[in-house]
Symmetry: D3
Subunit: 316 residues, 6 copies
């Protein structure tokens, strides 16, 4: 198989299939129209230019199309760019499919589901367990396919479940180290904390924000759903309020979208491990792309820092 698009160097020629993520028309300084495409495969994405584009080109090369490109990697403002020599839409006989071009979690859906199920099974509080199980059953497909975010961290197919399972592992360690923590509440909070993203985002593959997502946000919507499910299951009592509070406060502060800060121990910890797992995901993926002795690009979601990869940190 070909190397991914992000492995190509300036000057390399390219021949292969890529998925169009977005397409924009422009007019060159010579007055001729051109197309700017963002194209991608599982390894990453690149900007591509189709100069002297015809009306037909404009009508053909649209988002979500898979296209065979022939071109060369050039450089524009310090970033690589694909200069397209020619292009054609993928044919059924090419044997390529959408899934091959989307980045995915490095763990299988089955393994992710099993990890979640196992933790639910360990819960001893029947109210929390029933609510959690209800959501996991009813939203299983979304939970296992959606990304955890549109960008920054876990922004790939199954990213949501991958994030949840990583956090469950962290939660399990913390429960062992700090036995005062209420395991049931923490597990339920971890599993449900971002499930409102199924309403906030438009879908698993190339997600955008829904109207509800923009005007209400996943946090209040999920608090709302927990209330409704509890009522539906006939569950009353403090567990429901505590679980709703966990969801509501998991961003930690008003400025970050939580109308209440964490006011119970497990809510504070949920916020902390959400933070750690998101940061580890971002850092690991950014550091993978650089050589020992180099710095990463500025990372917006890490206060714009550039991280260094020490020379001696190579796996032993």
């Amino acid at each position: 198989m070909n190397p991914g698009i992000s492995q190509y160097a300036v000057g390399d020629s390219f021949d292969g299939f890529l998925l169009i993520k977005s397409a924009t028309k422009g007019t060159a300084s010579n007055g001729k129209p051109f197309l700017t495409l963002i194209v991608k495969d599982q390894s990453g994405e690149i900007e591509a230019k189709l100069w002297d584009a015809t009306k037909e080109d404009e009508a053909t090369y649209l988002p979500d199309q898979i296209v065979k490109f022939h071109g060369e990697i050039t450089q524009f403002r310090n970033k690589p760019q694909l200069k397209i020599f020619n292009a054609r839409l993928a044919q059924p006989t090419d044997g390529v499919k959408l899934d091959d071009f989307l980045e995915k979690a490095p763990v299988s859906r089955e393994d992710l589901m099993e990890s979640i199920t196992e933790r639910i099974f360990e819960m001893s509080n029947p109210n929390l367990q029933r609510i959690t199980r209800h959501f996991v059953s009813n939203y299983q497909e979304g939970l296992l396919t959606y990304p955890a975010a549109v960008k920054n961290h876990h922004e790939y197919v199954s990213g949501l479940a991958h994030h949840v399972v990583s956090m469950l592992n962290l939660a399990k360690s913390l429960v062992d180290l700090y036995p005062d923590l209420n395991k049931d509440l923490l597990y339920a909070g971890v599993i449900l904390h971002d499930l409102g993203k199924l309403r906030e985002l438009s879908g698993p593959a190339t997600p955008s924000y829904t109207l509800e997502g923009q005007l209400l946000g996943h946090i209040p919507m999920m608090m709302d759903e927990i209330g409704a499910v509890a009522k539906e299951l006939g569950i009353e009592g403090e567990e429901v309020t505590m679980l709703q509070h966990m969801i509501l406060s998991h961003h930690g502060k008003g400025e970050w979208g939580s109308p209440k800060p964490p006011l119970i121990r497990e809510a504070e910890i949920l916020h902390q491990i959400d933070n750690i797992d998101a940061k580890m995901n971002m850092l690991n993926r950014a550091l993978e792309k650089v050589q020992p002795g180099e710095f990463t690009d500025r990372m917006f979601a890490m206060d714009n820092r550039r991280f260094y990869k020490p020379l001696f940190t190579e796996p032993s």
Copy 2:
């Protein structure tokens, strides 16, 4: 009738009934126990000291009791204080009742209700009208008796409805001046915006925060209830989302408790008029207490400013 407690000057003697708001025990430097009471009538409140308090006194003078006091107004750290000479619980034959000691809105319940009803009647969007009417019917008693806040503004019986009606008047003026505003959405938002306080606060008379109020807050709880009521009434569509957004965003910013800032025109205006009416209520009441040519005390909710009352602003 006697003047209110806030009209007494240092050196005056006092004889009359007051409501106990809180009671705390202490030990004087001579080793003897004493009681510190916060006592009030409709005009305001004062700290009172009962020196050499007996065990019986401690068991008798409890919050929410009406008591006949004989004493004198002294001064402590620049604030007036009631030094109690003697005290006894009110008797049925005294003919005093709780209501006489609570500050109330300056408009009657009937008039407040009529104003609200009139605005609902003017609404033309049936979905928004039905949702609003449903809440007003179901929560009428609370709406007409709760305060709008525990302190700072409209913190008196019927304060919530008083605040709503003032804001409705403002909203009506704005709709006339800026006809692009959607009147129905704005009226519905005004009427419902703080109704979550009925769950956030413990009651109309001497309100404290409920557990739900502290961990979830009135904003997400009210958004939640609107969703439930819309479902119950079989109403779907953008009106529901917009109304939920109005509630969610009416504090204006994350730091002030709104998980989303206003993102529609009417939500921005709802935030503005909530702000103006709260400030006018605070300013008017603070300026009433000072003479022309004087400054008020520092007002915490007005960025700690002291406001000046000009010599020439007396009503003409």
Copy 3:
């Protein structure tokens, strides 16, 4: 009449007159000079490119010239651009004049003046009335032609008076709703609050900042002028200080340019209604440009928010 320039779509050809707002020379990658013009009519503005510009072109197409253009609407970085095929200066025989290309307030000068006069007439405090009348008489031409700001809100011919009249309407409503407000002080403050812009800005049509405007600012300059006028008219007393304070504090905070925050009730309200009217002006004009179901562009002066136009808010 032709549609305005902001109604043209990419691909349309254009033939008509436009006013040049600014002109910049550049060198294309082929080494040839070109001109970048910002051109406008009452509907808005667009960037235009004149490729292969001659020395004569550079000397001809200057700011404030009206020019007949033939060209086509293209797209550059997601914004429309006018590609000029040919151009010539407007001739006297073309019958076009500067005024036709400038955006104006939607209310006539006469109506604006009448509204202001009416409010001054209603004032009962002779000192405040005389000072206000003096300014309105002496600065009438500027008051009726200047914009209220260089950008963001009321940034059109007569924008200052339009803003003042809108705020007077708001002030009148508030005085009715909150009778404790001093009407005279509030009206005087509204009418004079931004009059310092006549010294801060260079003129009514294509305003820039004067040196005084940049180094002193309209707020202290206007406070200064009120003091001078009061002295000239032989008026002394608290009204002058209060009116100066209204001007000084109307931006609300030090960070926003007010060396004192509002410390009297009417100053607080002046700040609030200045804020509301500016926001309504920005929101209404931004929402006019989008279809129901769409979001506006990010609005810098609204904390960079994008506002949504609901599907159901169409005027009934």
Copy 4:
């Protein structure tokens, strides 16, 4: 002569004259009235208690009275307190006068005036020189007696002139080191920068804020006066605007009371040397009160820092 009040230790008895700065009535826990006085001499101030105060005492021991006290230094909440055994008003025959109890600048009025005159003499720009000389002549008495501030720095008789002369010395050094600086502008700015305090504060001895001072502030008032004086002297041109800008911007930022930040080189330097001289005044006086090896109290105006006095910094 007696040591100053600030040299007394807990347990010492006191016999001498002190000036009353403020007097407040209170009621002790035994129900008896007492007086809390703040009393002072040139060395500092102390809280004093007169227990069992009579009505006559209350009418006698008023602010600005000089009183002979007999008492003892005790301690209350970690601060020394004067417990009064007896007291009487000073008599003409006691030979004490107000001036003896007020802290003064360590430089004589004559020397301060001479330094200022000398700098004005060195100015070569006639416009700036005339304006500066006009103010110094017309406000000489106030300039030489007012404090520079109510608290924190140079808060003593002649503090304003002391601050100005210190800053002039600094300015002279800077003009030598950085010859690009415009000496005339800088000297004029230094001499006039705080002269608005003569309207902001009530008087030289025990200053409080005037109404104008609170609602307008010394910065805009002084800018205003410079404009009026320039007009009176028939001076026009950029010097006036620059000098007004120097005054307006000398607090450096909007948050600190300047409606414009420094936008010319000399304004930036004026802000810097104002800052340095105020800090040196505060630091020197705070460090004088502690022994080598000790820290000062927290200094509010120095970001609440406590400063250390090294063991080896004693004068050589």
Copy 5:
């Protein structure tokens, strides 16, 4: 054995030994001297009042003395206070010793040391291992006795080692979950991160800040020591710089005392787990003191929040 002082309720009488932490003299309103003592045992501390204190009392009841008190628990400003009836210094025959009155880590010194040694043993990078071992050998006594902080978290004997061992456990879990982390660097960072506190604080029992601690701080001092030790051991290369960076950046931000933010992955994680372990220590100890269904006091180091202890979180 007696219950600890923090278990006593208002009204209880007290008879037992307590350690004096601080002693302050005061004068009562009746003119008589009294002593305010802060006294403590392992369970917590309380304010105590010795009224009518003699000169002898003042000379006897000094910090670090163990005293037998007879008295009663009263209440002052909502806090319990011990009113002392009589008191005497502990005698050798009483069989009480300093250690009995100091709070200690809940894990023995031996176990703490063993955990640290075990992790050092697991390190595979010889440079990092040698540096870490050198510090642990040379500073073993301090590491095993000092608190981790003067207040807020782990502020007890052996608190530093307790904090380190807790963090090592967390680090071990994270290394397992995120295998890209460099274990050696993380372990070395955890063990050394706060070792500068041995120079910053005066001692293990009742620590205060040293002069060096106040003027330099534990972070730069420890970076310095690592450089010196590396030189002494003849170790060069990136490991030293990385380890110094870990120490320097572990507070996360400039505002929190780190001159550099974390710029390598392990430094970010060190900051995170320092944060989590400190918070868990504070939360667990605060929640232990309240009953299910109650809130804790405001916790200053947790952004002033009060935390709720759910009714259903009791250990199963």
Copy 6:
């Protein structure tokens, strides 16, 4: 001699030598490669474009090469640009050398060294004098050649010594004006405060940040070195701690890189004069480039302000 590159106007032709600071490859919209060079001489720098660059060009025109260019000054995005017609590397026979193209301090190395030596000679505390002399001897070459910063202020050859000498002059003035200042401590602090830049930056000519510089920073590294030197010289006592504190705190605040704020008087003054000298250097150089009556460009390090150059400030 030719005028410097920064004196050329758009339209001028250029013939002369320039030093390449950086070189980047690009691909034009016609598909042909081009080079973007930043080229400089002592007067400033300019962007240059070599269109249709060959592989040989790419290999030849590299950073730090001196090149003879023939071309023309054009304009791109409001900035001048050099369009290269032809180019060749400088030959030995051209008689040009690196030094001729680097900006230098306006004072000679010898004079700078003499000023520093003179101040050290005036110091009377032997410990501070010995430490300071040791550093100046050992790091003389770096001190006299390094810039004080990579950009903003004193960013030229010998900029560090130029900044130090300017600050010493300021310090001398302040010591005269405020005799309480400890001269020795202040001089030592000034001379050493930025010496850590010799490790933070890669070299004197075209400096970049070293790895140590990025991860540790010059402040903690210099504190560290002072400790090591003091130990080497056998110097103990408070002088060392105070000097280390001066270095550590000279950026003034945590946000600005100082882990401790100034806590001794001389540290506060060191911070202030570092600030003033950096600002004067930036302001003077920015104002030199504009004509009287103009504003400078926005200055990032001056809070993004543009400064005005008054018409009347020309040297008399």
